[in-house]
């Protein structure tokens, strides 16, 4: 995937993620509707490819206003990843040379790899994750399961043990997938299924759309590394 194509896909996917979030906020009764209406319009500009640089700069400004309004991210990690992608896009538009633009976009690819690897690392060093207790706790008392019936999954320790190790190993091994186009494509499909499962079970739909928006960066990065070696 070329640099230009990867940037364009990032604009479209991030624009979609922001538009989806903004529509949800416009529906919410206690939200800051004017902010999210402006965000929706700017996200549409990103999607259709009109004045994308100015749209991104204004989205970044709005993001700062929202950070102030909610005294932090509204939806934790999903908002942080969205903001990271947006900052990297703004740098790509702003920086003067192709080399610096690529460094900014490469930073996004690096953070995407780290988002999986570090998540796996902090789990494998925790004995509760290694023996399946942590995932059991997620189902039994955390705020995340979307229905009462999902709490019953906590009564299947063997399945949760296998699931825990599946998640840990996938996250830790994700960087290895950069070795080839095919292994990366397979890893990204598995990662998307992982985020889709989290969206279904824990209602984390925003993570799915935002993380997918970062995938063009890693596809470009892998091509770049394999083609030039640096």
């Amino acid at each position: 995937m070329s640099f230009e194509v990867a940037i364009r896909w990032t604009e479209i996917l991030l624009g979609f993620a922001f538009a989806q979030q903004s529509l949800e906020h416009l529906y919410a009764k206690a939200g800051a509707r004017a902010l999210f209406f402006a965000r929706l319009l700017l996200a549409i500009l990103l999607i259709v490819g009109i004045q994308t640089a100015w749209a991104a700069y204004l989205l970044l400004l709005l993001a700062l206003v929202m950070l102030h309004r909610f005294q932090g991210p509204y939806n934790g990690g999903a908002d942080r990843m969205g903001l990271l992608i947006l900052c990297c896009l703004c740098l790509v538009y702003f920086l003067p040379t192709q080399r610096w633009k690529e460094i900014a976009f490469g930073y996004l690819a690096l953070q995407l790899v780290l988002s999986y690897f570090i998540s796996g690392w902090v789990k494998i060093v925790n004995s509760d994750w290694r023996n399946g207790t942590a995932l059991r706790d997620v189902f039994i008392f955390s705020a995340y399961p979307v229905s009462g019936s999902l709490r019953a999954w906590s009564e299947s320790p063997r399945a949760l043990f296998i699931l825990s190790w599946g998640v840990i190993l996938f996250e830790l091994l994700f960087p290895v997938s950069l070795l080839s186009n095919i292994s990366l494509a397979i890893a990204l499909v598995i990662a998307a299924i992982f985020h889709f499962s989290n969206a279904c079970l824990f209602g984390l739909n925003r993570f799915f759309w935002v993380w997918v928006a970062a995938y063009p960066s890693i596809l470009w990065f892998q091509n770049r590394i394999m083609a030039t070696g640096y």
Binding site: A30, L64, H68, N75, M81, L114, L201, G203
Partner: protein, 149 residues
């Protein structure tokens, strides 16, 4: 401005420590009072999760999930209140309870109800047993009259 920029830093240099530990989890409960100084008699869970959700409903929530995402934000505010109480976090939760009350999501048939309070319970596992303890009580908020909302 400086504070807002400080909030930006975790997005630029993220820690990515998702679910590293499963911390005690907050629950929001509220009570409706007929006077500011009335002793609460009963507490109700705010936005209880549904008993069941079909796969089709889960698929729909991939695109449209405002209610749940707001509930996750309320959980974040509750966690912030447990760590460092701020007026902002308390107001964010209070406003959403008031909204649900005004829109009829929370039923209130009693004309005597005039005030609202919420509390936070922390749920954690001790061995095989789950324990719930109240850890925070909000101020008592007057409920705006329906025609004033």
């Amino acid at each position: 401005m400086l504070h807002t920029l400080k909030l930006l830093i975790p997005a630029l240099v993220p820690s990515w420590r998702f679910f590293d530990i499963i911390a005690p989890s907050p629950r929001v409960q509220f009570t409706l009072l007929s006077a500011e100084d009335e002793e609460p008699q009963s507490w109700h869970t705010f936005r209880p999760r549904p008993a069941n959700l079909s796969f089709i409903q889960m698929l729909g929530r991939m695109l449209w999930n405002p209610h749940w995402n707001e509930s996750l934000f309320i959980a974040s505010c509750a966690e912030r209140l447990m760590e460092t109480p701020t007026e902002h976090s308390e107001n964010e939760i209070m406003q959403r309870i008031l909204c649900d009350l005004a829109s009829g999501v929370i039923s209130n048939d009693s004309p005597e109800v005039s005030h609202l309070q919420f509390r936070l319970l922390v749920v954690e596992r001790h061995g095989d047993r789950l324990q719930e303890d109240p850890v925070y009580y909000s101020h008592v908020e007057p409920i705006p009259r329906q025609d004033a909302v």
